[in-house]
């Protein structure tokens, strides 16, 4: 369990997220068929001035790599939304699929795959919600 409080969004946060995800046995089980990397794009709003992008490489229930992107990067899926919605997401106030349906997030890539992997998506959120953060 993470003890110290970490700033979100930051490279430190995504690295801790990777560690915690790899400890999450539920995630390992529900995401065992998942193959594909993500860009998590946090777009600026009133509280965040600069766009922040996380890269995260997910492969059969494991996180192989995760870091704050500096410069250009591509991935199979891009999950994108404003900072305020990301805050709600990692505080479990917003479900990722419900967020997509309401246009609070957008996804580039086959959104059907994400729908089929809803339980894995939920575990990503559960893991993120357990990391103590300061916004």
């Amino acid at each position: 369990m993470v003890k110290s409080i970490i700033h979100f969004p930051s490279d430190e946060w995504i690295k801790i997220f990777k560690e915690e995800l790899n400890k999450n046995t539920t995630y390992q089980e529900v995401a065992k068929d998942w193959e594909g990397d993500f860009l998590f794009v946090i777009t600026p709003d009133q509280e965040l001035k600069k766009e922040t992008v996380f890269y995260i490489d997910l492969w059969h229930g494991k996180c192989r790599d995760a870091y704050l992107v500096e410069g250009e990067k591509t991935a199979k899926f891009v999950f994108k939304g404003p900072y305020s919605n990301w805050k709600k997401l990692i505080q479990k106030e917003l479900d990722p699929i419900r967020g997509l349906i309401r246009g609070l997030f957008t996804v580039d890539g086959d959104s059907r795959v994400i729908l089929d992997q809803a339980k894995a998506a939920q575990e990503l959120v559960n893991t993120a919600s357990k990391i103590p953060v300061v916004f």
Binding site: D95, I97, R98, I101, R102, G103, S111, R112, L115, K119
Partner: protein, 508 residues
């Protein structure tokens, strides 16, 4: 023996303090329709139950569970031997006046494809700034016109009401599904012209997922029942309604009185445009085949049905000769998809005598009639303006020098414009779509597909899912394909599965 068909649905476990009364209407062929007599006490219990069922569902299930349930429901309905479909097959031709062939092939076979899990919209909203030109969406293209000025926003609607017009078969089912994707409880007023399918569909949801079904109430009541409408509006976060001018006026007043956002879909004007490139000697007949399907589908009763056909001059086949080809094809299509009980024979005869007189008087008009007055094609050079059709398979074909000239004809109709059936080559289609979309049209569809809504397409310029939680000033325009030549080939295959040569009389 009388077959009693219930036109209502709610959680059957609801108990009412006083016994509920019913009316029964004999519609012929041994079938009676049963409808409840609503009181405020009854409605209160029903609305309370759909709200508690919604809360319970949200607490215990997620959106993928909704997708899975709907997919299983549609699997039931795709089976021609499913009991609900059998009831619908017996009852719908009588209550709607559409032929069984129309309901089965153009209705069921296509409609349940729309509601397949993989076709349901996952993204309810697009970002307008990314669609300022026609760009890919689904298997077609969309473009945003106007500004995203938000007029209403509620991401968590608790109760959504739907008032369904009788001319769109299956609308009640579509509305139930859309509501479930935004976690809302649903009441649906089914139309008196077709009060059956909504309840049958809700019961089929109950077979798969009872709790999901119990978030739905299907309520048949007359449009003039003020008590019921006032009560339901007062309990709703949003009402979506389809209907004509009478419904628009009454429901707008009701919505204003109860301060309920109203998503209205009212009277519309749709038409067909055929470019000269498709009027070569080989393709003109195929285009006529496809066009005949748009004229025959739902006996032209839908808002998306064509009222006029504009044919560009300069092709190998003239607009007048195209009208002749179309008449031949409508006759064939009518054999495969006959008109229903409400044949509109008077409309056809009226059109016949009106234009017969004009033709006899030497006006530049030619009529192509059906021997049995089932349909009528009118080639009309006498009036270049756009005119509403009498419908019931009566269609005017008018020549235009250039498809871009159509803009001047239809621009005055503005927001009344809706679907434009097209056979226009890709290199001219986008510029046509730009001007016709700017004028007010919303759905540009390849001919023969005018009545076939795709789930990713906007409806009257708004996305059906987004409209349940957000209203803005944007006007979205869609083109149903990225490649019209491929779409025409596919459409021709689909059409020939329905209008098969085996249905035609044998040559002696």
């Amino acid at each position: 023996m009388e077959h009693l068909v219930d036109c209502f649905f709610w959680d059957p476990a609801i108990s009412f303090d006083t016994e509920l009364s019913f009316t029964s209407e004999d519609i012929g062929d041994g079938i009676s329709l049963r409808k409840p007599v609503f009181t405020v006490e009854v409605l209160e219990k029903i609305i309370d139950r759909i709200k508690t069922a919604r809360q319970e569902y949200r607490r215990t299930r997620d959106i993928p569970a909704v997708f899975d349930a709907i997919d299983k429901v549609n699997e039931l309905w795709r089976n021609p031997n499913y009991k609900g479909r059998k009831i619908a097959r017996n009852v719908l031709p009588i209550v709607t006046g559409f032929s069984i062939e129309m309901i089965e092939s153009w209705g069921f076979d296509y409609f349940f494809d729309i509601l397949k899990k993989e076709n349901l919209p996952l993204a309810g909203k697009l970002q307008a700034q990314n669609y300022r030109e026609f760009l890919p969406c689904g298997d077609g293209l969309v473009k945003a016109f106007g500004q995203p000025h938000i007029k209403y926003l509620n991401y968590e609607p608790e109760v959504i009401g739907h008032i369904c017009a009788g001319n769109i078969l299956g609308l009640a089912a579509f509305e139930m599904v859309m509501d479930k994707l935004v976690d809302a409880a649903t009441w649906v007023k089914v139309p008196s012209e077709e009060p059956v399918f909504g309840a049958l569909y809700a019961k089929s949801i109950e077979e798969i997922d009872p709790l999901l079904a119990h978030t739905i109430a299907v309520l048949p009541f007359n449009s003039d029942n003020i008590m019921v409408q006032e009560f339901l509006f007062s309990k709703s976060n949003l009402v979506r309604a389809t209907g004509g001018e009478y419904a628009r006026k009454n429901l707008s007043e009701l919505a204003a009185k109860h301060k309920v956002p109203l998503a209205g879909h009212w009277h519309k004007f749709s038409f067909i445009t055929i470019a000269r490139e498709y009027l070569n000697k080989t393709q003109a007949q195929e285009i006529a085949e496809l066009t005949s399907l748009d004229v025959c589908a739902w006996d032209q009763q839908g808002c998306f049905s064509p009222q006029e056909i504009y044919v560009e001059i300069g092709g190998d086949v003239s607009p007048k000769d195209f009208a002749g080809l179309l008449a031949v094809e409508i006759e064939k299509t009518t054999r495969a998809l006959p008109k229903g009980r409400n044949s509109g024979k008077m409309q056809v005869l009226d059109g016949y005598y009106q234009y017969f007189t004009k033709e006899t008087m030497g006006e530049s008009v030619k009529i192509f009639p059906s021997k049995t007055h089932q349909w009528l094609v009118i080639y009309d050079e006498s009036n270049p303006n756009c005119e509403p059709s009498p419908l019931f398979r009566v269609i005017r074909v008018k020549p235009v020098a250039d498809i871009m000239d159509i803009l001047q004809k239809v621009r005055p109709l503005g927001s009344f414009l809706q679907t434009v059936g097209v056979a226009i080559p890709q290199n001219r289609l986008i510029s046509f779509a730009n001007v016709i979309g700017q004028a007010g049209a919303t759905n540009i569809r390849t001919i023969s597909g005018m009545t076939l809504q795709k789930t990713w397409e906007p409806w009257d310029g708004r996305f059906p899912l987004q409209e349940l939680f957000e209203h803005d000033s944007l006007h979205w325009v869609s083109i149903d394909t990225k490649d019209i030549n491929t779409e025409i080939k596919t459409a021709l295959q689909r059409k020939r599965l329905i209008v098969d040569d085996r249905l035609l009389p044998k040559k002696s």
